[in-house]
């Protein structure tokens, strides 16, 4: 009896994981198109127009192109690490989605240390960038990888401090409890100024840096590094790096929704009849749009500015936020 039950739950978890992975693999298809459309319209041009209706099949064409490209492994590269690196970049961000509750019933796993797991796993993906840069045996790739490691060290700390504020508000590490602590209208969301607005700001800045998006995409800074850590990558391996970047963007957006924007809760009580999954997806799309919108608005930070922002502004701000939150919670 017990064994049958265990096998059953294992099967369910496996099925849920497979569905989650499939969704994450499929998401870049529509979203590369959407990103290019947003990029185009911000610059007053229409974006992709020629493949299918308004270019909607462009990602498919790009995918076929990348799939058919020659797979080049540099002669002097460390072949094993070179092939391993894209996978290391992608897998942790998929693993993050295990802990993210879409609604109180749709989730893969409800861990009581969910947020800790997310931070721990999310930090692993940087090894992909470092190893990819190192194994390529190219100076540009190496510099990109070094920048990635320095950037990650600076910003993971700030992100941790931002999350501590949220944990203090919810008195729990469980993601579902964190969402439940924000129930009852948008005034209870952590994004509000009387809650954790500063933490939200730190989280988003650190998230942009973690996802290697503009204005913090110094790891692949085309201007001075060729293409950064993925200079030597081509074909499908490059596509997997790009997929990892998208997965990172979605992971950070989903975390922002869960931690700061009330997860599946509706903003006002008379809209409660709309199911939680709709609210989650709407909020997720908003944050993804934010990523894309700001990418085509802001210039890239210089390397010393990046470090200054991380160490001299975000981390002290994060400590102060934790301190003030603690005071307000106690008194």
């Amino acid at each position: 009896m017990l064994e049958a039950l265990l096998a059953n739950t294992l099967l369910i978890v496996a099925l849920k994981s497979i569905v989650a992975v499939l969704i994450i693999f499929a998401l870049p298809l529509p979203f590369t198109w959407i990103e290019r459309k947003i990029a185009g319209h911000i610059q007053q041009r229409p974006g992709p127009m020629r493949v299918g209706f308004h270019g909607i099949l462009q990602p498919v064409a790009d995918g076929i192109k990348l799939f058919l490209k020659e797979d080049i492994v540099p002669d002097k590269a460390d072949k094993f690490l070179f092939k391993l690196a894209p996978i290391i970049t992608l897998v942790p961000y998929i693993a993050i989605f295990v802990a993210i509750p879409v609604t109180d019933s749709i989730y893969v796993s409800n861990m009581n240390i969910g947020i800790l797991y997310v931070l721990a796993i999310g930090g692993l993906s940087i090894y992909g960038l470092i190893l990819g840069g190192w194994a390529s045996n190219s100076k540009y790739a190496l510099l990109g990888g070094m920048r990635a490691s320095a950037q990650m060290i600076s910003y993971e700390v700030a992100m941790g401090f931002a999350v501590i504020g949220v944990i203090m508000m919810a008195q729990s590490l469980n993601m579902q409890d964190i969402v439940r602590a924000q129930e009852g209208g948008f005034l209870n969301w952590n994004i509000m100024p009387h809650k954790q607005l500063v933490a939200f700001f730190i989280f988003m800045v650190a998230g942009f840096a973690e996802a290697n998006r503009i204005p913090f995409d110094l790891t692949e800074c085309e201007g001075d590094l060729g293409c950064g850590f993925n200079t030597e990558y081509s074909g499908m391996r490059f596509a997997i790096f790009a997929l990892g970047e998208y997965a990172a963007m979605f992971a950070i957006s989903a975390l922002a929704v869960v931690l700061f924007a009330g997860g599946w809760n509706s903003p006002v009580s008379f809209l409660d009849f709309i199911p939680g999954i709709v609210w989650f997806v709407v909020k997720l799309l908003f944050f993804v749009y934010l990523f894309m919108w700001l990418r085509f608005t802001w210039p890239r930070y210089r390397y010393d500015q990046l470090m200054t922002l991380g160490w001299k502004i975000l981390i002290p701000l994060g400590v102060a936020n934790v301190l003030i939150t603690g005071f307000l919670l106690l008194y």
């Binding site: 947003i38 319209h41 911000i42 007053q44 041009r45 919108w293 700001l294 085509f296 608005t297 802001w298």
Partner: protein
């Protein structure tokens, strides 16, 4: 001083940039949909692909005086003359190797009969080198179909026509606008 500090702290510049791009997202695009839907018709004095003009009897104006071949700084034009059945001097062979042409307009300027002229064509791309070498028939076919000066220098609606492995962008002039 304090104002600048507050501006830096609250990221005023970054947010004003973001509002600008957000506004621009919903503005009209300025792209000319060139090969698919639209095509630009050049101005009257545009020096495009050459053509051979014909007179009102649909006869060649060229008398094969070879002045254009002489003045051409790049040696583009090759002419051989003949006498036709009416006893008029006409070109037996008139080729232009447009690889070498600089579109300087000297041939048009020197022509005493106003026979060789610059037209409106600007689609020089071809699949082979010989596509850019024009003989008399090609030059006759190059004559622009738009001659109204009012309508030149506008963007016209157009179609992309695929025929016999070649592409042609045909402007139909149903809709026009000035691109600026």
């Amino acid at each position: 001083m304090i104002k600048d500090f507050l501006k830096t702290v609250f990221l005023v510049d970054l947010f004003s940039g973001a509002t600008l791009t957000f506004r621009k997202t919903f503005s009209k695009t300025v792209t000319m949909h060139y090969p698919d839907k639209e095509k630009w018709i050049p101005y009257e004095r545009f020096r495009g692909l050459h053509y051979q003009a014909v007179d009102e009897n649909n006869e060649l104006k060229c008398v094969a005086c070879e002045l254009c071949a002489r003045i051409c700084p790049a040696g583009v034009i090759t002419i051989k003359a003949k006498e036709d059945d009416k006893g008029v001097r006409r070109p037996a062979l008139y080729t232009m190797d447009l690889h070498r042409c600089a579109y300087c307009g000297l041939c048009e300027e020197v022509c005493p009969e106003d026979a060789i002229k610059h037209g409106a064509g600007y689609e020089f791309a071809g699949y082979e080198r010989k596509d850019a070498v024009m003989n008399l028939d090609d030059l006759l076919a190059n004559e622009p179909n738009e001659t109204d000066p009012e309508k030149m220098g506008t963007v016209s609606s157009a179609r992309l026509v695929r025929k016999d492995g070649t592409l042609k962008i045909v402007a139909d002039g149903k809709k026009r606008y000035r691109w600026w």
